[in-house]
Subunit: 459 residues, 2 copies
């Protein structure tokens, strides 16, 4: 609960119409995609960096925590107000400020929805590649704060790779610019990349300068089915070794295929044990040549089926297999824990085998799919939470999944972040000295621990 005096002060900053304190309003900002729930004391909707700065200065004076939030679509509880205090929503800062078609950069506010930005620049012949699954509703500010990835990361990189500069309100309320609008720049420390993926713990992003690319000429989609996971994994290395870096190299394991086939009957051959959905983009002639090369490269690796789309309609048809994964998972069990481990890409079969053992040991169905090109596997632990003891069992299985990834030189998360859900596990991955260094940075920028406390580190 916040003091009435503080609520009054917040009203003075953002206007009475931009603050909510009623339970029914607070509920809307109490959850995210993790299904965890924490009720804030108030929700504020500031209009600009100045108002955000004033809120943070007040928070430092009065000692209440502030939890920044975009669309609340995160998979790690990063936007949840675990410690009470206020949720600060950035969705009113939702303008695309400019798109510079000559220098291929854009400046936006954090509340712009990812897909809307992509469509706006595409109209100008430009390309913003990062494509998190949430792109229809997630905001660019959240994408930057979490360093969102997506299928196209294997060729183009993640959100961070497109961020050239930021305007940020620091936890103390100071407003700074980081980076800039030049492709190179080595003056001072790289605060831009430090803030990307800092999960709203080091600053609230109020402007983003993105680098853009020319929109690719054409794309070519291929659905390829292998008789083993090893074959699919070898195909990934062989394609890249063959000097082709596909736009996407989406992987689905046998359990995933079975889910999709059971529900949608797409005609996946029964001997298919793993799928790679491959897409190349670029010059129209080159991609046709690459499609042929890819076929020749992967043919000896236990290829069961190879379908190449002739046009966009056929491409959409092939993507359907991937898109139907999520809707069909619920047939397995009503609840899922969606983790997103990463291993060096050659270790994908090893980690899948370790996960199969975990599955057997815990007797919980686990379905794996994801981005094979960068070794980023979405591990879906399917449970029925209403059964007694299931949640605890699932958490133990999750810990073992993380340990499996780490044992192969991997990481617990490639896209979702640590937030609340992985904070208890962070010591599995980071050494005490690494954590101490990160906490020293946090302490330096947020001496009163006002901004998004309780996230990332177990405080």
């Amino acid at each position: 609960m916040l003091d009435a005096r503080i609520i009054e002060a917040l009203k003075n900053i953002v206007g009475a119409e931009n603050i909510a304190t009623e339970r029914q309003d607070l509920l809307c900002y109490s959850y995210d995609a993790t299904q965890m729930e924490y009720l804030p004391a108030a929700v504020v909707h500031p209009a600009n960096a100045q108002e955000i700065s004033s809120v943070l200065k007040l928070a430092n004076q009065e000692g209440f925590p502030v939890f920044p939030r975009g669309a609340g679509s995160g998979f790690s509880g990063g936007a949840l107000p675990k410690a009470g205090g206020i949720v600060l929503v950035t969705t009113r800062l939702n303008r695309i400020l400019r798109v510079d078609t000559e220098n291929l950069i854009a400046e936006v506010e954090p509340g712009v929805v990812t897909e809307q930005f992509q469509q706006a620049v595409e109209k100008l012949g430009l390309f913003y590649p990062p494509d998190p699954a949430s792109l229809k509703f997630s905001t660019l500010g959240g994408n930057v704060a979490e360093n969102a990835g997506g299928p196209r990361a294997v060729k183009y990189g993640c959100t961070k790779d497109f961020v050239m500069g930021l305007e940020v309100v620091l936890p103390t309320g100071a407003i700074i610019r980081t980076g800039g609008e030049t492709y190179k720049g080595v003056v001072g420390y790289d605060l831009t990349k430090l803030l990307c993926g800092s999960e709203g713990t080091l600053g609230i992003i109020t402007k983003i300068i993105f680098k853009l690319l020319p929109f690719p000429d054409a794309k070519k989609t291929m659905l390829t089915i292998f008789d083993s996971i090893d074959g699919a994994a070898k195909a990934v290395s062989a394609i890249i070794g063959g000097k082709i870096i596909p736009t996407t190299l989406e992987f689905m394991d046998h359990a995933t295929l079975q889910c999709v086939e059971r529900r949608f009957n797409l005609g996946i051959p029964p001997e298919g044990r793993a799928v790679l959905l491959i897409e190349v983009d670029g010059d129209r002639d080159l991609i046709e040549k690459q499609a042929q090369q890819i076929h020749d490269i992967i043919k000896p690796l236990g290829l069961v089926q190879f379908r190449a789309a002739k046009d966009n309609a056929e491409s959409e048809q092939l993507w359907k297999v991937r898109r139907l994964v999520s809707p069909s998972l619920r047939d397995v069990n009503p609840d899922k824990y969606n983790e997103d481990i990463v291993v060096p890409r050659s270790k994908v079969p090893d980690v899948i085998r370790l996960i199969e053992q975990i599955q057997l040991r815990y007797d919980i169905p686990i379905v794996n799919f994801g981005h094979a090109g960068d070794g980023n596997i979405h591990v879906n632990i399917m449970v029925n939470k209403s059964l007694p003891g299931m949640e605890k069992k699932a958490h133990e299985a999750i810990r073992e999944v993380f340990e499996a990834a780490l044992s192969l030189g991997g990481t617990m998360s490639g896209e979702h972040g640590v937030g609340l859900s992985k904070a208890p596990f962070i010591e599995l991955e980071l050494s005490p000295e690494q954590i101490a260094t990160m906490k020293a940075v946090k302490q330096a920028l947020d001496p009163n621990n006002i901004l998004n406390p309780g996230k990332m580190f177990p405080w």
Copy 2:
């Protein structure tokens, strides 16, 4: 001067044969490419991270500064021991630890020379694109510490874009790992990118994990001459707008052309006012098509000459124009200040015009060339330092060059870093709040200001 007791302690750490205290030995480590000179009290050559850690712990106890140094080829005085203390040379850590051809990563020690690394991975069919001009002697540790660039940055990015993880000795002596060997990873703050370009002020790099690419199939070099700088600048935007991102887009202004032509007589037509040396790489068929497309795109922009190399020998011939720039500059004046401003690429003609005015105002020849694709221009202020007042005049002109770049949304440095030479100017570019934030990070990691003090910020 260091206490004999401290020298003794250092000998115990690195071995008596790996420390130098005699003036003639110290002299070798007193300068870099800037021609500034500062004599250290001692030079140590540790063998590994543990020894470096012990040296830093001793430095904290005894309160002497430590200046890390690779090959000493920097252009900003970053490795110079301005405040006395010791120089710590990392060149004994010079092993390529492994090249993983399946996952396209390599792990190296910081003392490996850039070109030797490139050649080693090329033998395995792999590609490490960053190509600073110093690559024949600069070390990878220095490249990371300064975030070195080079002509190929326009397509491939700078050193930082290839660093996936580090082992670092922090200023306190703690040894930590940052990042890892996966292409994605969002667990904790991005200390890797924070350390890249931190100019040896936040840690001493002892291992680097690099991302590699398949070596490109083929390349095609084109020498293109324009009748105006505006034509050349428009060509850059038009080529990229035409969906072609060349590997290099090297620019030379009229003064540069005159220098080269005067000395080497390469047959550059007199109406030529600006050169773009363009290279594309990739698929053999595609690059031929792209060369034709480039020709068609730039033809209406005042193209005076277009020469496309038919093979590697002809390509070398065309690159000669660019390679002869440095040797021919000394004909203008014996001394040069080599700055490396960046502006958004469409602003290159504007900044060249502003520099022409500065040249006239100060009556100092200024020769501009560099990487037009990313707007990174090497501004060479040619002086004769032996003439009275010249140095002061040059410094005033340099300040105006920086101001010109900043007025166009640019930065003072795209590759060389701040070091000592730009520290007095950093407040032109960064706000007091930005500097305070960076200093807070430095203070958090280096509470006793032991590591490379006096660099980057005016302390």
